[in-house]
Each structure stands twice: as structure tokens, then as C-alpha cells.
């Protein structure tokens, strides 16, 4: 008796290997596919694990700034601020007013450049062949010129120090920032026209990879990923640090937490950051940039401290365990991309192969931040 076997398809597992145009660097995803629908996703990370934490333990507090830049190389100022806040809280240093303002302005501008990079890469993932990238990079280059005038380097600034900033900003800093903001707004209008109203983009990103609010909290997501799911949690508002309570700005919050919402939240965040910079640039006071009585060697007491910053990808925190002496005994970096990426499997299973690329793009990971 021949049992008639209905057409069963064999599952094929595809290895989106460490080198893949849309994995934003070295991230491997083994996808088990039944036809075009994804059955199982197994992310492999660790290809960029280069020991930033262990190397920071052999450097004294001023030398380890370089590793913070290189951990999340798209939001460098935000990482440096988190590290400096942790060291200042540990040693008890008071940052003068002018340095706090300079740090805040540079951090918000850095958030704008990081989100511009996301918008460019998001277009590439959906198939824009570079048009969104070049428009986003046009604005990014202008803001990067200001960072270069301030800190002397295009990407790895190393400009903040525990206690303030290394040297004062150039004299035309205020005028340069006021010059660049209209260009950025015009650039955002262009990108908005190109991307947001695009029917094919809406069709490709609406309702995909949705994440409900309590699942997002359970997975430990933070930043635009959490706010897109409808949880209005922003460290600048809920655990205010630095001078954020002096400016009024609002937090964009999405509803469904799908790929399109994350894109809209990041787009709106850029406008909020520009608003903050406009308010802050008017109130930039003069005065010293370093506390006048800085000890030559930063010695820390035996204590533990945690300082977190609302980074471009989420909550970037530094936990320092110190046993006296000038070197941290253990430095833990709470990296937002690591937590956001851990929820990838739950968002991707059930969608198509093309959606896996869009979802990975919307999580906006930086691989050095994931593997540290």
C-alpha cells in the first residue's frame, strides 16, 4: 500500500556569513528557511570581541578614554561622557558649567550624526542602492567638520576628560554650530521626502518585527527600540544627568514597535536633538573648562559606581569596580546594541528572508559595541 506523501519541503539553512553587505559589519546569522519563510534564526557574534574592557583595566583613568570611542564608533562623544561621568562620580570631581554645556552640545550633535548613519544604512538594506547613504552623509560630513575643528580628529575624538574637556572650543564654535543647523534641517527634509512617504518602503517595513511593550522590557531593549514599542523611557528625562533638565524637549514614542516605527522614532529624535542644541548654544557660558584643583594623578577610593547615558542606540552605561589606586579593577560596559540584538530571533522568526535584513537594519547595531 503506497502511502501518498504530500509535498514536504526540506528546510534550507542559509548562512548570512560574517561578510554580508547588510549585516553592518561582522555578524553571522544562520537562518533556517522553509521556502522563503524563516523558521529559525541563530545569531553568532564575537567576531569583533577585542577586549576593550580588559585593556581598560591596565590603563589609568585618563588613558582609557580611547577605548570608549572605539567601542561604539558612531556615538563617540556619548560614550566618553558616560565614562567621564562614572569617573567623576567615583573620584568626586566637579565639572565646570562651560564644560557641561560643551559636552551636551557635542553629544546631541553626535546623536544626529549617528541617526543619519542609521537612515543611510536603513535605505541600503531596503535596496536604495546608495541614494539615501549619500544624502545622509552630506549632512554627516558637515557636522563632522565641526567635530574635527573641536577635537582634531574625524572619528576618534578623545576630547572629554574626567573633570571637563581637554582644551577650549575654537572661538567661532558658536557661529559654526548655528551655521550647520539649517543645513541639517534641510538635509532631514530631503531624506524625509525620499524615504518616509515612499510607498515601497512603507510596504516593506510596516508591521514587520513588531515588539510589544512588556516583551521589549523583558528583553532589556533600550533607546529608540524601547520607545518605538510605546514605553516613554529616556534617561535624559527619567534619570536626568548633566544639564538636560534645563532644556525643554520631548521624546518621540511609537505605537506598534515595528520597523517603520523605529525609523520614525529616530527621525523625530534628530529634530529633538537639533532643538536641544539650538537652546544650549544660546546659553553657552564662559568660564574655566577644568576644575582648577585637578590632582595630577586620579586616585579612586575603594568603591563601585555606575553611570549611564542615553546613547544613540540605547542606554550606554559604565560600571567601574575600583580597589584604590589609579587603575579601575574591573570596567564593565553595558552596551545597548548587545541587549537590543539579543531579541533578534524573537522579532525575525516567521517573516521572510528580505524582512530579516530589514529588521536587522532597524535594530541599528554597531558590532564593536555588541562584542566590545
Amino acid at each position: 500500500m503506497v502511502t501518498e506523501r504530500e509535498l514536504e519541503t526540506v528546510e534550507l539553512n542559509i548562512n548570512m556569513g560574517p561578510q554580508h553587505p547588510s549585516t553592518h559589519g561582522v555578524f553571522r546569522m544562520v537562518i533556517t528557511v522553509d521556502g522563503e519563510r524563516i523558521v529559525d534564526v541563530e545569531p553568532h557574534i564575537g567576531y569583533m570581541h577585542r577586549g576593550g574592557e580588559k585593556l581598560s583595566e591596565t590603563m589609568d583613568f585618563r588613558q582609557a578614554i580611547g577605548y570608549q570611542d572605539r567601542t561604539d564608533y558612531l556615538a563617540q562623544f556619548l560614550n566618553e561622557q558616560a565614562y567621564c561621568m562614572a569617573v567623576e562620580k567615583l573620584i568626586g570631581l566637579e565639572v565646570p558649567e562651560r564644560s557641561e554645556y560643551i559636552r551636551l552640545i557635542l553629544c546631541e550633535l553626535n546623536r544626529v550624526t549617528s541617526h543619519l548613519m542609521f537612515i543611510g544604512a536603513f535605505g541600503i538594506d531596503l535596496g536604495f542602492f546608495g541614494t539615501s547613504f549619500t544624502y545622509a552623509f552630506r549632512e554627516r560630513e558637515r557636522i563632522q567638520d565641526i567635530f574635527e575643528e573641536v577635537s582634531g580628529d574625524r572619528l576618534m575624538y578623545g576630547y572629554f576628560r574626567p573633570g571637563g574637556v581637554v582644551w577650549d572650543v575654537p572661538d567661532n564654535f558658536v557661529q559654526r554650530v548655528r551655521e550647520v543647523l539649517p543645513y541639517t534641517k534641510q538635509g532631514m527634509r530631503d531624506l524625509d521626502l525620499l524615504l518616509t512617504e515612499n510607498e515601497v518602503l512603507i510596504a516593506r517595513s510596516r508591521g514587520i518585527g513588531a515588539m510589544s511593550a512588556e516583551r521589549a522590557i523583558n528583553w532589556g531593549l533600550s533607546g529608540p527600540m524601547l520607545r518605538a514599542s510605546g514605553v516613554p523611557w529616556d534617561l535624559r528625562k527619567d534619570q536626568p544627568y548633566s544639564l538636560y533638565d534645563r532644556f525643554e524637549f520631548s521624546i518621540p514614542v511609537g505605537e506598534y514597535g515595528d520597523v517603520y516605527d523605529r525609523y520614525l522614532v529616530r527621525l523625530a529624535e534628530v529634530h529633538q536633538s537639533i532643538a536641544i542644541v539650538e537652546q544650549a548654544i544660546d546659553q553657552l557660558p564662559d568660564g574655566p573648562i577644568m576644575p582648577e584643583k585637578m590632582p595630577r594623578k586620579l586616585r579612586a577610593p575603594v568603591a563601585e559606581v555606575y553611570a549611564a547615558v542615553e546613547g544613540a542606540r540605547g542606554e550606554y552605561g559604565i560600571y567601574i569596580v575600583s580597589k584604590g589606586g589609579d587603575k579601575p579593577y574591573r570596567l564593565k560596559i553595558r552596551s545597548p546594541s548587545f541587549c537590543n540584538l539579543s531579541a533578534l530571533k524573537e522579532m525575525t522568526v516567521g517573516n521572510y528572508v528580505a524582512d530579516a535584513v530589514a529588521i536587522l537594519g532597524s535594530v541599528d547595531i554597531v558590532l564593536c559595541d555588541v562584542d566590545r
Binding site: G46, R50, G51, T58, Y73, F137, R154, L155, C368
Partner: protein, 207 residues
Amino acid sequence: MEVETARGTIETTQTPAPAAPPVPVPPSERPKTGVERELELLTPAEVDHGKALYRQVLPGVLQAPAETVLALARKSSLWPMTFGLACCAIEMIATYMSHYDLERFGIVPWPSPRQSDVMIIAGTVTKKMAPAVKLLYEQMPNPKWVISMGACATNGGPYTRYDRVLQGVDKIIPVDVYVPGCPPRPEALMDGFIALQHKIMEERGKV
């Protein structure tokens, strides 16, 4: 514990597993630790200059004038592979964008290793990533070159003391042009490409 390789020793400071057995078991029977298994993967890639199509068809006939024409063609259409590792990848992307625009030199990034001639190692090569880099290098068709961009790819950069990081990509694949900087500026990468073009013109006919 050093591992002798063609180009110099990859010396790592792996002390044996913390719970050292009292009687040291001779290394042959001792089960290989993860580190030793990984070191076998990190042997340098051997380079064989395959036969280009036109040499198979007309071995000696077309030799002399073809080299200059071919070298000029290869020089002016270098297709790199979209293969960014770490922070240098952002500067590489900035070089492709409209402000610096590498396409003026005919340089277009191509996704698959089969269609690309240049491999830009833009970032730190860790020991977990090294076998993949070697495999990609071997997949590229033959007149191929490697640009090691940034301090991390040249000798491990700021992360050179950590034992999970390969101290320089030239331990596994032959590198043609080293671009200094951490990360190198877009102009430095363009200068690296121009240096590679001069090198292609000089070594025409030999490769």
C-alpha cells in the same frame, strides 16, 4: 607558547588551563585546548597565481603589449569587496560617498568576493574572524590585492595586547598596501589606492 609559522612566530601568552594536572600529561595525549585548535586554523594562506584566461588560450603569443594594456585596465577598474570590520569601515564608507567619491577612480564596491579584485581589511582582525578573512581571500579570482587599512589591521592597533586579537592581518594573508591611521582619513585611503595603482603598473608582466 610559540607556534612556528612561515612569517614569524604568533606568540600568545596562553598559560595552560588554570587547573594544571599534577603529572604533566605529554601534549600528544592531552586533549587539544580550544586555543591550540584555533591556532591550526590560523596558518597563512598559500598564494598560487592561477592562469588568467588569455594565458591559457594564447600562452606566449599575446605577451608583451598585452601587459601594458592589461595593467592599465586593472589599475583603472579596481573593484573592492564590501567588507568592513570595525571603525575603519565608517571611514571607508565616507570615502565612497559624494564628498570624497572613490568612483572617480573607477572603484566600485562589489558584494561578492568572486567579482572583486581588492580586499580592504578595514578594522581589527580577531582570531575568531581570521579563518573567514582567509577563506574570503582564497575565494577571490587571481590578480588580487589586499589593502590593510588602519593600525588594527596592520599590527593589532590599540588592541594588540589582547590575546584574542591577531597582531596584524599579514600573518595570514599577503598584504600589498598598508594605510596608516586609526582610523585613516579618507584622503589616506585614496592615497593607498593610488599607491596600489603604481604598484600594479610596476609589477605588470610579473604576476
